[in-house]
Amino acid sequence: MIITKQKDIEEIYDMIKPYSKILVAGCDGCCQPPRSINEAKVLAQMLELKARSEGKELKWKAITVLRQCDDRIAATTLRPFIEEYDAIVSLACGLGVGMLNRIIPTILTFPAQNSMFGGVENNSENYFAEYCETCGECLLGVTGGICPMAGCAKNLSNGPCGGQVEGKCEVGGYIHDCAWVKIWERLKKFNRLDLFTNYRPPRNYRIWSSPRFIHIYESSSNIEEKKKEENV
C-alpha cells in the first residue's frame, strides 16, 4: 500500500487559491489510510471554510475514483464533471495526481497528499511501517522476507554494521530496529543461517535511478539481451 499523509491545509489552499470551483477526488485504491469520498468531502469542507476565512466563495464537489492510477477508470469517472470545475484536488498518491494531470489535459490537478512510502499498517499498534523501497533488485528471498533496503538506514546488503546496539540502529538514536538483526533472528528460527552467511554482491544502483520504465510485454529474449547490455 502507498502510505500517504495529508498536506497542511494552508499548502493545499495556496495551490487552489486562484480557482473558485474545484473538484475534490478521493481514491478508493491502495493509499493508506483510505482516502475515499468521506475524506474528500471533509477536505472540501475544510477548503470552503478556509476560503471563507479569506473572504472568498468556493464551490466544490467531492467524488471518489476506484483507482486514480488506472487511466481508464480515472478518465471515465472524472470526465463527466471536469467541465464545470477549474481545478482538481486529488487525494491519491503521487501516481494518481500524475495520472489525472495526464488524462485531463484541460485543467490542473493538485496533490492533497504527500506520498510517503510503500508500507503496511500494523493494526495492533496503529502505525504504518515501510516494507519495500521498490529498488528493483529484490533480496527478500535471502533475508527471510525482511527488506534490508527499507529496514536499514544505510541500505546495506551485508549487515549488520557496527552501529547497532541491542538490535537498535544508531541512526535516529536507537529507536528503530536494526533490520539485519531481525533478519538474523528470523533466519535462525527457520534454521537457514546459511543464507545469512552467504555473501551478497554489491547492488546495481543503476537500475534504481529515475526515470524508470519497464516494457511488461517485451519478450523474454529481449530482456535477456538487455541484461547482457547492462552487464557490459
Binding site: D8, I9, E10, G26, D28, P33, P34, R35, S36, I37, N38, E39, K41, V42, Q45, M46, E48, L49, K50, R52, S53, E54, G55, T64, N123
Partner: protein, 1163 residues
C-alpha cells in the same frame, strides 16, 4: 388443575424488573406489582455503581422504559398483594391498589400540579434532604411517569385539580381491588436500610453531620439535593475530612443484625472514590473491620481507591462519636495498628448502614404461607436459591439474603428460569399480539407530512406561542396538515392522528411535544395502527428542551420551537420505512462445561423441552464439585451431584459428550453450527443450535513447589485435601493437636489480584468440622480479611465460639512456615502484640480459584467474546447483564465468569438458561430496525468498520470472494459508529444517517437567534446527554435558547463532516454530548467520538477558526444541571468570540498587514 401462562412479580426494583422482562420475553404475561409510585427501587436512588462507576440512572432508565412499555408487562403501581389461593401453576391472587386520587391513564406527568401545590413535604427519594410537594412524582425519570397525592399531607385545597389541564385528578377515586389468575409468583421485595435513628446510634439524628450512606449517595448524585456538590448538613460547607463507618446495623447483634450486609464495604469504597472525584480536597477515611471485596474485580477497586484516590483505610470499629458543639465537627477515637489510641476530628461522618429485611416481608410471608429464616429473610432451598418453601412461589434479590446488584439480577433471571420450567406447557397462551393493518407502501410517493403540535396543557402552550408555530409549520415544504392539540398523547388525539393520516393521505407524521425517549414508541404505535411504517415518524422536543428551559423568554422559545419543527420536517422528508428482519430460531442449545453450573443450565433448558448438547472436556461430569463434600451450611454436595448427574444422564433431550473438544463454532444467534471431537479423539460430530451457554468453570490454585513448604513437607496440604480427610479419614484428625489454616494462598496477590470468594467459608467449614470430630484440637486461622459475607457470618461467629482462633496478618507480611527440628512452626509478625509463633501438626493452605487461562482464551477466540485480566470471561455489563455476553445468543455462568459458591453457580446457571430461553422460546427472532447497511457498490474493503464495531456485527468477509463489508443485522445494535468511520460512505446508518441528519444540520445552523446570541448546533447521544438535557427540562434548569439539538443514537455515530458542515452552514459553535467514557451504551462508541473530535479541534484550528467554537462534553442522564450550566458557559464563551464571521475577518486583516509589510520591504 389447568396451568396458567401468567406470572405475578411482586416488587419493582431491579430484581422485579429483570424477572418481569425475562418472563415477558419468554412468552408469559407478567403483572408487575409495586407498592410505591414507580418501579426502579433503591437502584434509582444511587449515584454510581461499583466497580465500574457507571452512572446508575443512565443504565437503569432504559430498563425502566423498556419494562414500562413491554406489551406483555402490566405495571400495577401503588399496589399490594392481599390474598393468595390455589396451587402451583394456578394461583388466584387478590391485589389492592391504593388510590392515587388521579387517573393514571390521563396523567401526562407534566408536573404543573406539583408546582402549584401549596403544601411542602419532605422528599423521601432524597432521603429527607430536600422538599417536594404533597402531589409529586418519585423521581424525574420515573416509570410510569404519574403523579400522585400524598393523602397524609394533602390539605384538600383543590388547586391541583384546578391547574390540571389533562383533567386527571379525581379526589373521589377509591382504592381498587383486583383478582388475577397467575401460574406462578416471583417475590422481589428488596430490603430496608437499617435506620440508626431510633437509638441515636453514633449520634445519628442528634448530630447534624452524621448521615447515612444512602443520604450521602443522594448528596453525591448530580440530580440530588445539592446537584452533586458535597455539602455537610450543618453549614453547607464542603467537608474536608470525611469518615465512613462500616458495619452500622450489620455484624452487630446489639444494633441491627448479626449477618453481614455484603454490599456496604463496596458501596462505601465507591462513595469515597466518587466523593474524591467530585472534590479533590476531600480526604476520605474508612473505618472497617474486614474489607469484604468478594466480587469480580472488587479487590482491584479497593486497591485503586487506596492507591489512586488516596482513600485511607483504618481497621477499627468506632465505639462512639462526640460532637464539638461550636464547629459541629465530630471526634472519633480508634486504635491504630500499633495498638495506640488516637482521637481524630472529622467534618462529616457517613454511616454505612446495612440491609434489613423489607418491612413488609413478614406480613407477606404470612399471607403467602412461606417460611422465613431467623433473620426474617425468606427461606430458600439449599441448592435452589430462588425457590421458597412453597412450590410455585419464587424469590429473588435481597428478599432472601443481602447481595449486590449483579447477584440480584442473576437471581431475578434465575427465578424466571424456575418459572420457565413450571409453566413451559402454557407458554405463549396469554400473550397477545396486536392485529395490525397491512403496512401501506409509501415508496415513491412524495412526502406528505402531518405536524401535530402539543400544548401539553400549559407546559408548552404557556411559554411557546403554539398557534404561531402551527401557522409556521403549515408553510413548510411538504407539510400537508398541521394542527395543535391540548395533549397530543391523550387517547382521543391518537384517534384524531389516525383520522388525519387517512383524510390527508399523510405518509410522514411529526409530533412536536415532549421527549422521544419516553413518547416516541406511543406515537410510532399510533401511526403503525394507521397503516404507516413506524419509522416514518419524528418527534420535535419542544417541551423538555424548549418551553421548560426557556420559561422566561417566550418569544425566543417560540422561535426555537419553530426551528425544531422545521428541523424535524427536514428530517422527516428523508425518512424511509424500515423493516425488522426475522430469523428462524433453532430450538436447541449448547452448554460448554459439565460441572454443576453446566448441568443445571442444561437441565433447565431440557426441562422446558429444548434439546441440549452438553460438552465436557474431561471424562466425567461434576467438575470441581467432585472435591466438595459439604457446604458451610452442612448441605450434602455429593448427594446433589449424584442427583444432578442422574437427571442429566437420563434426560432424553440432553446429549452428553464427554472427553470432548470443540473444533469450531460458526454462525450467530439463532443459528450456530458447532463441530466437536469427543470420546478421546475418536468421534466427530457437527450440530446446529440457537444459543450457547459457557460454563467451563475454573480450578483450584496449585501452590508453586515449595510455596509455604507445599510439596516439600507432606503435613502442608491444601484445604480441599483437608476436606477429603475430614469426610473420609476422620481417625487421622483425632490424632492431631494443632492445625493452622493459612488464607489467601494464590489469591489477592500480584499474580491473582482478586479474592476467591469462598476460601474463608471453606476454612471455617473445615474448622467447624474439625472441632466436631476433635473438640480439643487447636485450630488457628491466619487471615487478611475474613470474608464471610451474608449469612455466612453466623458460622464465623460460631467458629469463634467453638474456640477457633483467628489471627490477622498484614498484606505485606505473610506468615512464614519453617521446619524446625522436624516440626512445623509458623511465625506471624504483629506490631501491636509482638510476634507470634505457632506449632502445627498440619497446615492447610486455602488455595484460591484460578481461571483456566489458555482454555478460556481459546474458547473466547472461537466465540469472539472477551476475557478479563484475570482470564475469567467478561460479561456484557458487569451490573445489569451478568449472564450475557455482548454478543447476542451467548451466555455465561458459574466460575467461568468469576469465583462463586455452588449455590451462586446454580443461580447463575438458571439465570443463563433463562436468558437463553428469551431466544429459544421464540420461533422467530426479530432484529432491530435501526441498523447499519452497506452499499456494496461503494465499499472499498478497507475494514475500518470492523475496527470500530464493538459487537463484531460488521466487517469484510474475506472468505467470500469479493472483499466487501457486510452487516450482520442480528448483531448490529444501531450505534452508527461504522457509518461515521467509513471513508467511502458505503455504510449508511438507517434512520439517523447522513441523508436524514445533513438536512437537519442545514436547518439548525440557519436559524435566526436574538441579537448577539451565538447559534449553536448540538449533537446529543440518545442515552446519556439527550437524557441529561431532558432532565434539565424536567428540573426546569434554565439555559439560553440558542441551542438547536440533533439527537443521534451514539456520539460515535457523528462523522467529522457533520461538524464541518455545521460550521459551513453558519453555526457559531458546535457541541457534542456523549456518555462519560466507560459508560457508553454501545460499549465504547464514545472512544471514537473522542478520537474524531480531537481531530476536529486540530482541523478547525488549522482553518483559523477558534477551537473554542467546538465543545465536547460528557453528560450523563443524571446531570441535567451540568448540561444547563455547560450550555450557559458555552454560550457565554461564544458570545465573547462573537459571530463566526469574526474569525474569518480576523484572518483577512492579518493577511493584509503582512502584504503591506512585504510591500514596504520591497520598496
Amino acid at each position: 388443575m389447568e396451568k396458567i401462562g401468567s406470572v405475578l412479580v411482586v416488587g419493582g426494583g431491579i430484581a422485579g424488573i429483570q424477572a418481569s422482562m425475562d418472563l415477558a420475553d419468554s412468552g408469559f404475561k407478567v403483572y408487575l406489582v409495586e407498592s410505591s409510585m414507580s418501579i426502579g427501587g433503591v437502584m434509582s436512588q444511587l449515584d454510581k455503581t461499583f466497580p465500574t462507576n457507571d452512572c446508575s440512572i443512565c443504565i437503569l432508565a432504559p430498563k425502566l422504559v423498556a419494562a414500562g412499555r413491554h406489551e406483555n408487562i402490566t405495571l400495577l403501581i401503588n399496589t399490594n398483594l392481599e390474598k393468595i389461593d390455589g396451587n402451583p401453576g394456578n394461583f388466584t391472587v387478590e391485589l389492592k391498589q391504593r388510590s392515587l386520587l388521579l387517573d393514571q391513564e390521563k396523567c401526562t406527568g407534566c408536573g404543573v400540579c406539583a408546582q402549584e401545590c401549596p403544601v411542602e413535604a419532605i422528599d423521601f427519594f432524597n432521603e429527607g434532604l430536600s422538599n417536594r410537594s404533597a402531589i409529586s412524582v418519585k423521581f424525574p425519570q420515573a416509570v410510569p411517569l404519574v403523579f400522585s397525592i400524598d393523602q397524609e399531607l394533602c390539605i384538600g385545597c383543590g388547586f391541583c385539580k384546578g391547574v390540571c389541564k389533562a383533567k386527571a385528578i379525581d379526589y373521589t377515586l377509591e382504592d381498587k381491588s383486583t383478582t388475577l389468575n397467575v401460574g406462578a409468583i416471583v417475590l422481589a421485595l428488596g430490603f430496608d436500610e437499617y435506620d440508626p435513628g431510633p437509638t441515636q446510634q453514633y449520634g445519628y439524628g442528634k448530630y447534624l453531620n452524621v448521615i447515612t450512606s444512602i443520604q450521602f449517595e443522594r448528596i453525591l448524585s448530580a440530580s440530588g439535593p445539592h446537584s452533586g456538590l458535597i455539602l455537610r448538613p450543618s453549614d453547607g460547607i464542603i467537608p474536608k475530612k470525611v469518615a465512613f463507618l462500616q458495619c452500622v446495623g450489620s455484624r452487630d447483634k446489639k444494633h441491627g443484625a448479626e449477618y453481614c450486609s455484603s454490599v456496604c464495604c463496596m458501596y462505601t469504597a465507591k462513595e469515597a472514590v466518587i466523593a474524591k472525584e467530585h472534590m479533590e480536597i476531600i480526604e476520605p477515611t474508612i473505618f472497617s473491620m474486614d474489607v469484604r471485596a468478594v466480587g469480580k474485580d472488587f479487590d482491584k477497586y479497593i486497591e485503586r481507591a487506596q492507591n489512586e484516590y488516596g482513600v485511607r483505610y483504618i481497621r477499627s470499629r468506632i465505639s462512639d462519636i462526640k460532637e464539638i458543639s461550636e464547629t459541629k465537627d465530630l471526634i472519633l477515637h480508634y486504635e491504630n495498628e500499633e495498638g495506640k489510641v488516637i482521637s481524630e476530628t472529622f467534618n462529616l461522618v457517613v454511616l454505612a448502614v446495612g440491609a434489613l429485611p423489607n418491612h413488609s416481608t413478614k406480613a407477606l410471608a404470612k399471607k403467602l404461607n412461606i417460611e422465613l429464616n431467623s433473620y426474617n429473610f425468606c427461606k430458600t432451598k439449599p441448592f435452589s436459591p430462588v425457590e421458597s418453601s412453597r412450590e410455585g412461589i419464587y424469590v429473588c434479590g435481597m428478599i432472601s439474603e443481602p447481595k449486590d446488584i449483579p447477584e440480584t439480577v442473576v437471581e431475578a433471571s434465575a427465578a424466571a428460569g424456575a418459572v420457565n420450567i413450571l409453566l413451559s406447557d402454557v407458554r405463549n397462551t396469554l400473550v397477545t399480539e396486536k392485529e395490525l393493518p397491512k403496512e401501506r407502501d409509501t415508496i415513491g410517493e412524495p412526502p406528505r407530512i402531518g405536524v401535530f403540535i402539543c400544548h401539553c396543557g400549559i407546559n408548552i402552550g404557556g411559554v411557546v406561542d403554539v398557534p404561531e408555530v402551527v401557522e409556521y409549520a403549515n408553510k413548510l415544504p411538504d407539510v400537508i396538515h398541521a394542527e395543535r392539540n391540548l395533549y397530543t398523547c391523550s387517547a382521543d388525539t391518537q384517534t384524531n392522528i389516525k383520522e388525519q393520516i387517512k383524510e390527508h393521505n399523510l405518509n410522514r407524521v411529526i409530533v412536536a411535544s415532549c421527549t422521544p425517549r419516553t413518547h416516541e414508541p406511543l406515537f410510532q404505535a399510533t401511526i403503525r395502527e394507521a397503516g404507516l411504517n413506524k419509522y416514518l415518524f419524528d418527534l420535535a422536543n419542544i417541551r423538555d428542551q424548549c418551553s421548560w428551559v426557556h420559561m422566561h423568554e417566550p418569544e425566543e422559545a417560540t422561535e426555537k420551537a419553530k426551528d425544531l419543527v422545521r428541523m424535524a420536517v427536514a428530517r422527516a422528508r428523508k425518512l424511509v420505512p424500515l423493516q425488522e428482519q426475522q430469523v428462524e430460531v433453532i430450538h436447541k442449545g449448547m452448554v460448554i462445561g459439565g460441572g454443576v453450573a453446566g448441568m443445571t443450565a442444561a437441565l433447565n433448558l431440557a426441562n422446558q423441552g429444548f434439546e441440549v448438547f452438553l460438552i465436557e472436556k474431561s471424562k466425567r461430569l461434576g467438575g470441581f464439585s467432585n472435591n466438595i463434600y459439604h457446604t458451610l451450611e452442612k448441605h450434602d454436595v455429593q448427594e446433589l451431584l449424584k442427583d444432578l448427574i442422574n437427571k442429566v444422564k437420563n434426560h432424553k433431550l440432553i446429549n452428553i459428550f464427554l472427553n470432548a473438544r470443540i473444533n469450531s463454532i460458526g454462525g450467530y444467534v439463532c443459528n450456530f453450527t458447532t463441530n466437536i471431537t469427543f470420546g478421546g479423539d475418536k468421534q466427530k460430530k457437527e450440530f446446529q443450535h440457537g444459543i450457547i451457554i459457557v460454563a467451563t468453570g475454573a480450578h483450584e490454585y496449585q501452590p508453586k513447589d515449595g510455596e509455604f513448604l507445599f510439596g516439600k513437607d507432606e503435613r502442608v496440604i491444601l484445604q480441599s485435601d483437608l476436606e477429603k480427610i475430614l469426610f473420609t479419614e476422620e481417625e487421622k484428625i483425632k490424632q492431631l493437636n494443632s492445625i493452622v489454616m493459612l488464607q489467601c494462598v494464590g489469591s489477592r496477590n500480584e499474580e491473582h489480584p482478586y479474592c476467591s470468594r469462598m476460601c474463608c467459608s471453606e476454612a471455617i467449614k473445615n474448622a467447624l468440622k474439625v472441632k466436631e470430630i476433635n473438640p480439643n484440637l487447636n485450630i488457628t486461622v491466619l487471615y487478611r480479611d475474613i470474608r464471610t459475607y451474608g449469612f455466612k457470618e453466623k458460622y464465623y461467629n460460631l467458629a469463634r465460639e467453638k474456640g477457633v482462633i483467628f489471627i490477622r496478618f498484614k498484606d505485606e507480611q505473610p506468615p512464614e512456615i519453617k521446619l524446625e527440628n522436624g516440626n512445623l512452626s509458623i511465625y506471624i509478625k504483629k506490631r501491636d502484640i509482638g510476634d507470634i509463633k505457632i506449632n502445627a501438626d498440619l497446615v492447610a493452605l486455602s488455595a484460591g480459584i484460578v481461571a483456566d487461562g489458555e482454555a478460556n482464551e481459546n474458547l473466547a477466540k472461537m466465540l469472539k467474546v472477551p476475557v478479563n485480566d484475570d482470564e475469567f470471561f467478561l460479561e456484557a455489563h458487569v451490573k445489569l447483564r451478568p449472564s450475557d455476553f455482548a454478543t447476542d445468543g451467548i451466555f455465561l455462568c458459574g466460575t467461568s465468569r468469576g469465583t462463586a459458591t455452588i449455590r451462586e453457580s446454580i443461580a447463575q446457571a438458571m439465570s443463563a438458561a433463562s436468558r437463553a430461553t428469551t431466544i429459544l422460546s421464540k420461533d422467530i427472532l426479530k432484529t432491530e430496525g435501526i441498523i447499519s447497511k452497506v452499499d456494496p457498490a461503494l465499499c472499498i474493503g478497507c475494514n475500518r468498520c470492523a475496527e470500530v464495531c464493538n459487537y463484531g456485527a460488521v466487517g469484510v468477509k474475506y472468505e467470500e470472494g469479493l472483499m466487501i463489508s457486510e452487516v450482520n443485522p442480528l448483531l448490529c445494535k444501531g450505534c452508527g459508529d461504522c457509518a461515521a468511520e467509513c471513508p467511502a460512505e458505503a455504510i449508511t446508518m438507517s434512520h439517523f444517517g447522513r441523508i436524514q441528519i445533513e438536512p437537519m444540520i442545514a436547518e439548525a445552523a440557519k436559524v435566526t437567534v436574538a441579537d448577539g446570541r451565538p447559534r449553536i448546533v448540538a449533537f446529543l447521544c440518545n442515552w446519556c446527554s439527550y437524557a441529561g438535557a431532558d432532565l434539565a427540562g424536567v428540573s426546569r434548569y434554565q439555559y439560553p435558547p440558542n441551542v438547536r439539538t440533533i439527537r443521534v443514537m451514539c456520539s460515535g455515530g457523528i462523522p467529522k463532516s457533520f461538524i464541518l458542515q455545521a460550521f459551513l452552514e453558519g453555526a457559531d459553535g458546535v457541541f457534542i454530548g456523549g456518555c462519560h467514557l466507560g459508560d457508553c451504551h454501545y460499549i465504547a462508541g464514545n472512544q471514537d467520538t473522542l478520537r474524531r473530535t480531537e481531530e476536529i479541534e486540530q482541523i478547525i484550528e488549522s482553518l483559523g477558526i477558534n477551537p473554542a467554537r467546538f465543545m465536547r462534553k460528557w453528560v450523563s442522564a443524571s446531570e441535567g444541571k451540568i448540561f444547563a450550566e455547560t450550555i450557559k458557559e458555552f454560550t457565554e464563551k461564544l458570545q465573547k468570540l462573537g459571530p463566526i464571521e469574526n474569525d474569518y475577518k480576523k484572518e483577512k486583516k492579518e493577511i493584509k498587514k503582512e502584504e503591506k509589510k512585504e510591500i514596504i520591504l520591497t520598496e
